[in-house]
Symmetry: C3
Subunit: 411 residues, 3 copies
């Protein structure tokens, strides 16, 4: 019997998990395609492929170095261009998570943004904002790291680092760029395009979430790691199921039909929420986590609508809302043994919510504002009415276009 | 060189296989979406996501306990809510198989069923019918278990436990709920909706089948396990290929064109059939298994049509028919060494066919009948004509709807 | 701690990689579906499923034996029907790569080919042409094998063996079968059908490429193998990203819009190019490899158009062009340690380009020519105008058909 190298098997594990995280990322593409009008199809594909690659370039050049290149509590400083990096699997898996964060971050301004605006904000987000935030929590040198910092934060899977940060960008971008034309007129209709594509995307996200959460441990070969991974899988699924089903009941009480979109949204919200503590909850806690997350989603939706923020894909409610709630919930309910006392963690987790939110706003808000000022952010009015595809990607969708016009014409 | 824990690597293996089984399960969603009318799109997505989660809840609460919680030969009695369960990966993989069985079971009554009817039958099936059936064959305490019972049954991958049981529900549900409106009028046309989606679903099923069959062994780290897994993969693929190609030839002899739907159906049928003995056939036997399976599929189709059973997705022929044939074929052709003599196995496998079929009918038939009686089973006539989406999910599909009307109007 | 068998874990690794290669293969189906007219949908699904299975049969019966059955430097001669084969995982993974090659090979003649013509050429390609070519480079007995032949060729991942060979068939088939009706009239429009499906296919290809490249090593358990695999992943992604982004810039300089199709094509081209040396490039070289590959793609496109070769999916530019450039690039830039001196490799790699190209032409050109002569190659003119589906698969696409007619009518 030849020997088996633990490092190599862990690398294998991490690469496979990384592929599933990319699956998650591409899933988001199909959710976007499914929920937007047919006259922005090419634009959304363009956006999602470019951000995959811009993220890779930014993360490879300096993002990974800022995130995991040792350095200070604030920022890393080694492994630029992965030079000298001892573990390329670690790079790949973290790149894939960064790509998920980027796609979430830029998912709220579809149907009204200039391609060049996407490219710039992808680069800044994936090269600076996200890596530095992830350094704080996930690098052993980070000031929020649970292993050796004085401010240990419980965020195992990324409710805060990935989804809160990404969702905050969504909020900022929506705020700066404004609503779609006629969004707040009474006759506006969400132009739904392709429900099967949205379902495909949501399925891909659910399956990808499993790789996303089990890979967060970076290893599988030691005794007990397999069961820990399985606990994470179970928690993710139970939280998604309980959030989705509870959301379905809540929604059914409010309306006379079963709303499939809302069902999908609350499911993803539950999975996002449970990430922060998926390694330490017992299954029953995850069920509760999912149910509360569903409730929190409805509150967020109400707030978003009340404040007239136009977020076609509900990115803010699903990811920012659940990210915040995930960190708070983990502060209360995650296992205490390793971290030392409830009071401390909940305080630290609340602090992390504030710090991560503020950091993201502090960088991205000026950026979007400047882009708006130099006119690379929002497409002209006539383009938005007819769809970006026609003008920026030379695609005409005769069928789609006509349908759009019918819906928009009344104004 | 650090040590590698065998248990942890097996857990890793089982989680990955489980994800592919979920991939299989979601594949079925897209087959359904692709083969039904556009005015039931939201309903089908709703059905498939809810059954994923209802199944999870039912299986977690008591299904897994009934299936693998030791206990008697008939039913298990430990590990409710996975409490005390020594292996959560085992839970996850078996949950995924249960989800496949559920989706097969409820696949035959699309386009004419109330949402609430789905939810109830999913729960009963995933919480009682399937777990108890799987206990008999796959738990070491089960009375059909090949390892230590006196009635060893050869069903390695689930031709019987998953597909025969699921397919039986499909038959029962079709029988109770009846055909779609105008199904047996001469002008009825199968309202095909989206062939690429059906192809996507079928591709997902084929890839998922690989995880489904290799995971059935629950382990990979011992010498020889890798080759056994590879043999299963080869057998699944060869059976699918031979069944599909033979079905194509048979069908081409009957008609003047190449029927893609029939080709896909026979392919899946071949894979279902070979499951029962995929671990013990030599590749040549699998080719034969596939070809006979294809023949059996045509007989089933003929019987179904002759008896005027309306099964839009051919679930009964593909899964019930092939499940039965798979158990019979395994009774004759699977390796004899471990089980002790051909005569015994074929007898036991035939008995298993009868027992599994009767058990499923005994529970599900009264359930469907009661649901029909209290009117939560079939949607009203006008809803069926216009599509469930409009009434139960508040989705209008202007294009799809118009097309439907054209096809239905003549009556 | 129980022992873990290295062989079994490698088998596990190879099966998982093989599934991802199948994912790649099915991805090509959706690219085809997305980029062709709706009136050939069933035909394309038919083509892709049959070639999956015809390839399996041919490869199982004798293809694998010719490729890896020891034998002479030219052809192997053992393991027919996998009998006596010591490693079935090796068979599965190589079958999956063969299926990718087949699907590439027959991807250029869609919309105008008889089903029977596909079947015959799939069989010949997967049973003879590809296996023998792969024997030369990848079997230790092959005369181009880097391990022990006198003509070591650097083709780690298959730029030459899989993509150059497949792409050559595409060129030959286009040349023999000729352009689509009216292709070179000024009013011809590429009948684009479904951009989201094309994006789905491209995403599947990108994810599948990761399994495709890491599996090429056949093992993972030895120390260092995990990092080698990660290097391959990084190189594939960087080459794809740099090729895609550089292609986007090049294309944007030529036109006033962002061309999503071209972006996807150059991305895949970059990944194809880097395959040949993905195990030995440092990441910076991969970025350069991608960028040059993008440039090479534009030259190929110009050549193809200039020579009036009608290749609806750009198979020749993407796969043949990048395959050639990949072997040349690897000849110059791959690590020299193991192979002994730059001059030698570049010479051998150039020789391999010529030999692989000539071999494929020598077998496939006569075959296509004979098929054309006996009229099983091209569908009749009226069928092509109305779409193959209607005549060969009994599928009518009322919507799609009408759209087609509008585009074709002017002539």
């Amino acid at each position: 019997m030849k020997g088996v190298d633990a490092g190599a098997v862990n690398d294998f594990f991490l690469i496979i998990c990384g592929i599933w995280v990319m699956f998650f990322k591409f899933g988001f593409t199909f959710v976007e395609l499914g929920k937007t009008s047919g006259s922005n199809t090419a634009n959304i594909i363009f956006k999602n492929l470019t951000d995959t690659f811009i993220t890779l370039m930014a993360y490879w050049l300096h993002g990974y170095a800022f995130a995991f290149g040792e350095g200070s509590g604030f920022i890393g400083s080694k492994y630029f261009l992965t030079l000298g990096s001892p573990n390329l699997c670690h790079f790949f898996f973290n790149y894939a998570r960064c790509a998920v964060a980027t796609t979430v971050a830029l998912g709220a301004v579809i149907e009204r943004t200039e391609p060049i605006g996407y490219l710039i904000s992808s680069y800044v987000f994936a090269g600076f904002v996200y890596p530095i935030a992830s350094h704080w929590v996930w690098d052993v040198h980070g000031f929020f790291n649970p292993l050796q910092s004085k401010l240990p934060v419980q965020d195992y899977g990324g409710s805060g680092v990935v989804f809160l940060v990404g969702g905050t960008v969504a909020l900022v971008s929506c705020y700066v760029i404004g609503a779609r034309i006629d969004r707040w007129t009474p006759t506006f209709k969400q132009r739904e395009h392709n429900l099967p594509l949205a379902a495909l995307g949501a399925s891909m996200q659910m399956m990808g979430f499993i790789g996303f959460i089990i890979g967060a441990r970076y290893q599988i070969t030691a005794p007990g790691e397999g069961q820990l991974a399985a606990l994470c899988v179970l928690n993710i699924l139970l939280a998604g199921a309980s959030s989705g089903l509870y959301g379905l009941i809540l929604q059914r009480l409010l309306k006379s039909y079963y709303d499939v979109d809302c069902f999908i949204n609350t499911t993803i919200a539950g999975m996002v929420t449970v990430c922060a503590g998926a390694n330490s909850y017992i299954p029953g806690i995850s069920v509760m986590c999912g149910a509360t997350s569903s409730f929190f989603y409805f509150i967020m939706e109400w707030l978003i609508l009340r404040n007239k923020i136009d977020d076609p894909l509900h990115v803010i409610s699903i990811y920012l809302g659940s990210g915040v709630w995930g960190l708070i919930f983990a502060g209360f309910f995650s296992a205490q043994g390793t971290l030392g006392g409830t009071d401390k963690i909940i305080g630290n987790n609340l602090l992390a919510v504030v710090v991560l939110f503020s950091w993201t706003v502090a960088i991205m808000h000026p950026l979007f504002y400047v882009m708006k000022y130099v006119k690379v952010l929002r497409i002209p009015r006539f383009m938005e009415k007819q769809g970006v595809d026609k003008f920026r990607h030379d695609k005409r969708h005769p069928l789609g276009k006509r349908k759009e016009f019918k819906l928009i014409k009344p104004h």
